[in-house]
Each structure stands twice: as C-alpha cells, then as structure tokens.
C-alpha cells in the first residue's frame, strides 16, 4: 500500500505491507535504524517517536497509518552540521546511557516533555519518563540528564531548577 509521510522534515513515499509497523517501516524501508525495537508490543518505550508532535510507540502504529503525518525520530535531533542536541549532550555528560539501546526512546520522550513542560522538575521527569525502560543506568543519570537539558534549553545559567 502506497503511503507518503515526512520523516525529520523529509518527504518519503513507500509501498508498505499493512502489517508493517511504523518502527519497521522507519528502520527497514527508510534506513533510519536509530529507532530501536525492544519488546515490540508497546511496553518498553525504546521505539518512541513523535507523530505530528505527539509521542507514539512506533511498534504500535502501522506504517500505513502514518500517511500524511509528520514523524520525528532520534535522527532528527542532530543539528545541521551534526552537532548534538542539548538533550544528547546532557545524556553524554550525565551518564544517561550505558548500552544505549533505550536511549533513542528516552530522548524522544524527553524531547516531548521539555517541549510541553520546559521547567519540569525531577518528580515530573521521573513520572513522564516512566514509560521508557532502561536496564543499565538505574535511571538516576537519565533524570539528571533531562533536568540538565531542560536548564540548558531554558538558557538557565544557574543549572537545574530546584522545583
């Protein structure tokens, strides 16, 4: 079935089988393997992408459903000259990853969180990131990273807010 959607601002047209998930369409058909597949049934959050600005599990959507939508994946985070997004910088800086498998989903969830709630405090960050499972870090570094990225994106020179 023919579908056309945009991925990270680029228009793509594909012929996909209806049962192909959006995650597989991104990985196999678009070559964007940054979106990771963990559980493939909507539990682990590794495949989280933004669809029309809203976070979605790419394993729970079919590629055909993205027709006409605007999809943002982890590949869309980097700057024009390949520079890391403040969230990616913060994950490196604060040990927000170890093996890195969950990281793309973590980044996309965090991106949406900081987009909708730029001043999110640690409790909110914990709550909002709870849909993404990490088996390496124990989450502490992830919460630190999202908090620091929030401060950086706010241009807050004093570092993380105390809220």
């Amino acid at each position: 079935m023919d579908v056309t959607f945009s991925v990270n601002g680029e228009r793509v047209s594909l012929d996909v089988e209806p049962r192909r998930t959006l995650a597989d369409a991104l990985r196999e058909d678009c070559g964007l393997t940054g979106t990771h597949l963990g559980c493939e049934h909507g539990v682990c959050g590794a495949c989280t992408v933004l669809v029309d600005g809203q976070p979605a599990r790419a394993c729970l959507m079919f590629g055909v459903q993205a027709d006409g939508c605007s999809v943002t994946t982890v590949e869309g985070l980097e700057g024009e000259d390949g520079e890391l997004h403040p969230l990616q910088e913060a994950f490196v800086e604060h040990h927000g990853l170890q093996c890195g498998f969950c990281t793309p989903g973590m980044l996309m969830s965090a991106l949406h969180l900081l987009d909708t709630d730029p001043g999110a405090g640690r409790e909110t960050i914990r709550e909002e990131m709870s849909g993404n499972i990490c088996r390496c870090t124990g989450y502490q570094g992830i919460v630190d990273a999202v908090e620091a990225a929030g401060a950086a994106l706010r241009g807050d020179a004093d570092g993380p807010s105390s809220s």
């Binding site: 998930t21 493939e40 394993c59 729970l60 959507m61 459903q65 969830s109 969180l113 909002e128 849909g131």
Partner: protein, 269 residues
C-alpha cells in the same frame, strides 16, 4: 513478534466501518488507538483478516458537555480526556492510563470496547452510569455500560457494531483511587465512589471479570454507614484471584483501602 497479514481499510465514515465489518464474516477488527489491539496482534493472540482503521473518520473525537453529562466521541484520545475541564472525574481517571505515549494514541471508544476490567474508563463508565451509542447495520442504538461489559475483554457488541460515543453523567461528588505496582501499569485494584442523581455508587475494577458495583457497600452508605464500614463490605463482596502480583488477602485488603480512600476523596468519612 510480527502481526499476521491482514487487509487494511481506512474508513471515511461510521457507515463504511459497519459495512466492512458486516462483510468480514466476524473476522474484522476495528483499529482505533491500537494500544491494546496491536500488542494482541503482535503476540498473535488474534489474527483478524481485516483491520478497519477509524482514526481518520471526521468528528468522532469531540468532547462536549450535554445536559448533566459529558459526551465523549469514540476517537477522543486519553490525552484529550486529561486536558478537558468539563468532567474532572474523567480527567483524573485518564491520568492513570498508561504513559504519555499511550495516552496520546489510545482512545475512549477503544478502551470501552476492549473491556479490560483493570482499565480506568470502564470503571468510570459503570461508576457513573454511562450510556454508550453503538452504530450497526440497523442504525444507532444506545446501551448502558453495565449491559455492555459481559466478561473480561468480552462485550455485548455485535461483530458488525462500533461504539460512536460514550455519555458520562456528571457526578455531584466523587472520589477515585487506584493501586498499581507502578503508575502506568494496569491497576491491581481501583475504586470509584460517585454520587449520581442523589445515589452513591461504589464501583470496583481490577478484581473481577468486569468493573462491578459493590452493592453491599452502597447499602452501607445509603444507611448512613461510615467509609470504613463500606470498605469492609465492598472487600467482603468481591472474589479476587491470586496471581504473580498479589494474593487473595492482599487484593481484598487493597480493595478495602481503595474504597476507603475513594470515599474520603468524595467527602464521605
């Protein structure tokens, strides 16, 4: 972990959905938010031959107040339920559904049709005496939430029928309480105490095949009993089963505690 093949139909109207379902010999499924259906397909616990995608049907996602109630379109996302201010109980209950990425896709109609007894919206539907509009080949009929839920994941919907909206009455006062191992997980037990049309309704989810009214607890409260007495009556009236997540005595104790908390939040001591 990949779904079995299926034919995909992107429906443009409710009439088209009904027509496709009617023509699929009971082997068609409605695809709304997909947050429960797609895992079932991925695990190959179901292999429908046709999926009818209802996400593009115009006008099905509206949430609007209508005399003493709020009518929620079948395609209203859980995130929209959280954000709306017409029905505070619905907003509160919806915050307990899954995680952000699930709430942004999952729909009210899908949650009701899926009929998971541990899900929040079925409990709110039974607890407020909601009515459900159902479209089928003969037109639109109205049923009650209590008539809709037959057993775990089983409803009285026909194979060629589709929920189009749910009308949730506005309770005069209410309290909602849920216990899950982690926020976002399905509830081990949840309780809703809601006064609707002057009668206090006590509804428990997660401990039986369907969200159920706790008649004994309601009688205790109607007779002027305390929240603790109602909680004890509610816990005595359920028959939970043990699993990995909790024993029978634990679930009974949690049911009592959630009813007590829901009473307290509704202003009943």
């Amino acid at each position: 972990m990949k779904c079995a093949p299926f034919d995909y139909v992107r429906a443009g109207s409710v009439e088209e959905v009904v027509k496709v379902l009617a023509g699929s010999d009971g082997d068609g499924k409605i695809l709304a938010g997909g947050q429960s259906l797609v895992p079932v397909l991925a695990l190959r616990m179901a292999r429908p031959s046709v999926l009818v995608d209802v996400n593009r049907i115009p006008g099905l996602g509206a949430i609007r107040p209508v005399d003493g109630a709020v009518e929620v379109g079948a395609l209203a996302r859980h995130s929209a339920l959280v954000a709306q201010t017409h029905h505070p109980l619905l907003a509160e209950a919806a915050t307990w559904i899954g995680h952000t990425a699930i709430r942004s896709r999952g729909t009210a109609g899908g949650s009701i049709a899926h009929a998971d007894p541990s899900a929040e919206l079925p409990v709110v539907a039974v607890g407020t005496g909601a009515t459900v509009s159902v479209a089928g080949p003969e037109g639109v009929r109205t049923t009650t939430a209590e008539e809709l839920f037959v057993s775990a994941l089983v409803t009285s919907l026909g194979e060629d029928e589709m929920i189009t909206s749910i009308r949730f009455p506005q309770p005069e006062r209410w309290g909602f309480a849920e216990f899950a191992r982690r926020h976002g997980d399905f509830a081990l037990v949840m309780a809703l105490v809601a006064e609707v049309d002057g009668a206090v309704r006590v509804t428990i989810g997660g401990v039986g095949a369907v969200p159920a009214r706790a008649a004994e607890a309601e009688q205790v409260l109607a007779a002027g009993g305390t929240a603790r007495e109602a909680a004890a009556a509610a816990a005595a009236g359920i028959e939970p089963t043990a699993d990995l997540h909790g024993s029978v005595p634990f679930r009974r104790a949690m049911a009592a505690e959630m009813v007590r908390r829901a009473c307290a939040r509704a202003g009943i001591d």
